[in-house]
């Protein structure tokens, strides 16, 4: 059975003058998932989000959101955190949250109640009566996120939600995003931080120069890019092991040696070989599953060749 779609994007393109920002992009976002959009700066992530939100119109192609074209009433069911953050500066926090929530269709009583609850939740209750300009940057970011989800939107679109946040605030917001997903809300987020995607996202779309590079469930993509290789740490002449094609020293992160195996060799055979070979000691032995970070870099580099 096909999962229900929150967003359907079919062959959209967008150019600014001579610059092709998005080129024939198609994808679907399922209801209830966290969908990540990855890509280097200028790859077309924000442009795509803005087209989904009807801020921009695609030159060609079709977009369906929550089962139809985006109307003003549908906008109430969407929460959007733009990449360029902005709040009213000379207004009290609670008052501003209330106003923005009523613009999303909440009654003022309900808007106030939820704003107060959200401020409690984010440890900002004591700042409710302060002006926005008196808050620290991190607090403002949290408020901004709160404004995005106050009306409990079915579809939450967040552009670089964690940029500029310290680890504690990142954790707080991450929990909130996961909580919404667990309640059945759909989340579309763009990010540079790959480990966030690995931890949170169900499926992803990687774009580069406006074109789709990778698309699908995070696990599938990682498997697809899995190397027939292992990482080891220890002593010995790794290259002499039977079944090893070539070796490479791991430079990034934890030191180690990457052993590329011949196609017919299994990892068990390699482990057995190490155990039985003299003058070889082993401290670490693991499968070389690439991080999304590595995949990201590989894709971008391959594309540029």
């Amino acid at each position: 059975m096909q999962p229900e779609k929150a967003i359907r994007v079919e062959h959209i393109s967008k150019t600014y003058g001579d610059f092709r920002a998005v080129n024939d992009l198609s994808f679907e976002v399922y209801r209830g998932e966290i969908f990540a959009m990855l890509g280097p700066n200028g790859s077309g992530k924000t442009t795509t989000m803005r087209m989904i939100l009807d801020i921009l119109k695609p030159d060609s192609g079709k977009i369906e959101v929550l089962g139809g074209t985006l109307t003003d009433t549908l906008k109430d069911r969407i929460g959007y955190l733009p990449e360029e953050r902005g709040l009213y500066r000379n207004v009290r926090v609670l008052e501003m949250m209330e106003y923005l929530a009523t613009l999303k269709g909440l009654s003022s009583g309900e808007a106030r109640k939820r704003s107060q609850a959200m401020l409690e939740r984010l440890d900002l209750a004591e700042h409710a009566k302060k002006k926005v300009s008196e808050l620290s940057k991190g607090m403002q970011q949290k408020i901004q996120f709160a404004v995005t989800v106050l009306h409990e939107p079915e579809l939450i679109i967040i552009d670089e939600p964690f940029s500029g946040l310290d680890p504690i605030n990142t954790l707080a917001l991450k929990d909130l995003v996961l909580e919404f997903r667990n309640k059945g809300h759909t989340v579309v987020m763009s990010t540079h931080q790959m480990w966030q995607v690995e931890e949170m996202a169900d499926r992803l779309l990687m774009i580069h120069q406006g074109e789709q590079q990778l698309y699908g469930p995070v696990e599938d993509i990682r498997k697809q890019y899995a190397l027939h290789a292992i990482i080891v740490e220890g002593q010995g002449n790794w290259a002499a092991l039977p079944g090893v094609e070539r070796i490479e020293t791991v430079e990034n992160g934890r030191k180690g040696t990457l052993l590329y195996l011949q196609p017919q060799t299994t990892t068990d055979e390699v482990l057995a070989a190490i155990a039985t070979t003299r003058d070889m000691s082993i401290e670490r032995f693991e499968l070389a599953v690439p991080s999304l970070h590595d995949i990201f870099i590989r894709v971008v580099e391959e594309h540029e060749k």
Binding site: F19, A21, I55, K75, P82, E84, G86, L103, G210
Partner: protein
Amino acid sequence: MNKTWIVARREYLYNLRRPAFLFAVFGVPLFTFVMWVIIFAVTASNEENLDSFAQVGYVDEAGVLDNLALPEVSSDVTPPELVAFESEETARAALDSRKISVYFLVQPDYLSNGQLSTYSYAGIPEALHDYIESLMLANVSRQAPPGTPLERIANPVNMTVHVADSGRDLTEANIPALILMPLVFAMIFMMASGVTSGFLMNGVVEEKTNRIMEILVTSISPMQMLLGKVIGLGLLGLTQILVWGAAIVILLNVGQTLPLLQGIAVPVDLMVIFVIYFIFSYFLLSGLMAGIGAVVGSEQESRQWSSIVSLLWVLPFFFIINFLTDPNGTVPVVLTLIPFTAPTTALLRLGFTAVPVWQIILSLAILLLTTALTVWASARVFRWALLRYGKRISIRELLSVIRKSPEAEISLVQSAQEGAR
């Protein structure tokens, strides 16, 4: 609640509490009132004080003061001592040697033309003027035929000028009303529409520079936003007018004892026309300001524009002499037809003269048409320019946007590269 009303309500309540608005509403009338009180108090004390004029000389060349009859004065005024001089030379010598502080000369043909001159080193206060008048009245009246009312001798002509066609009579009592009221109306109009449309523009510029616009346009349509702002701030302008109107009514009621304010009434027909002009031109002004606010990049730039725009509204005041001397002349008529100057011009002219009905109708028609066009064009520009940051927008771009369909997308391009992010 409709989102337009949510925006209107927010704009109204938010701006109502702004210090700038509170000052404009309460500060300006209060300041004006205090100034008046001070001016009245200072001049009144000078005018009533006769102490420095204890001795008043006179030279009577007409012989009306031969059997001097002194007028009755109120108990709180000490009448000056009158000193007769034979000739002007002796009186002058007494004045020069400071024996007297003032003298007056009743010329030989006084009875036929009422000529009387006073000489002093300083001006003479109103109270002394009044005293000399009643002195002359007391003495002349003895020579009038018996039965002539003193009132008639004192004030032989009480002129009423009838202006053909207008149905409004310029009596001496309501001339201040007719001159003062249009001025007051024009000032109130400019203040109210200027303050509120300025708020409108600042609001748009603020939302743009704060980058909150992107959240707003994904919550409501730009049209709802524009309309909400215009309605909310229009109501704010009306609030301002109401407060000032109430202040004027109170001032007039309290101030009936002040001679300057006596007989001033607010002409109802002028009020009605005032409100019509206010509504039309408020929409014109706010449409213009919203468009400018959406296009300009900074608050500083927006201030420059708003002062240029408000200059158009003040323009008629530079021609105030034309209005007083020839209210139906070419300049006032032309200014009545130009939409930007029409409201103030029409109000001023209506106060001073009978304006042909066709001019008012034509003026309102042109104003309405311009307003509709401005709001329409502004709405398109507004939507298009809302998310456009940093980049200067050329007139040609603006014109092409205005010609495009209203469904044209919002533009948010700074540069192609940045837009693609």
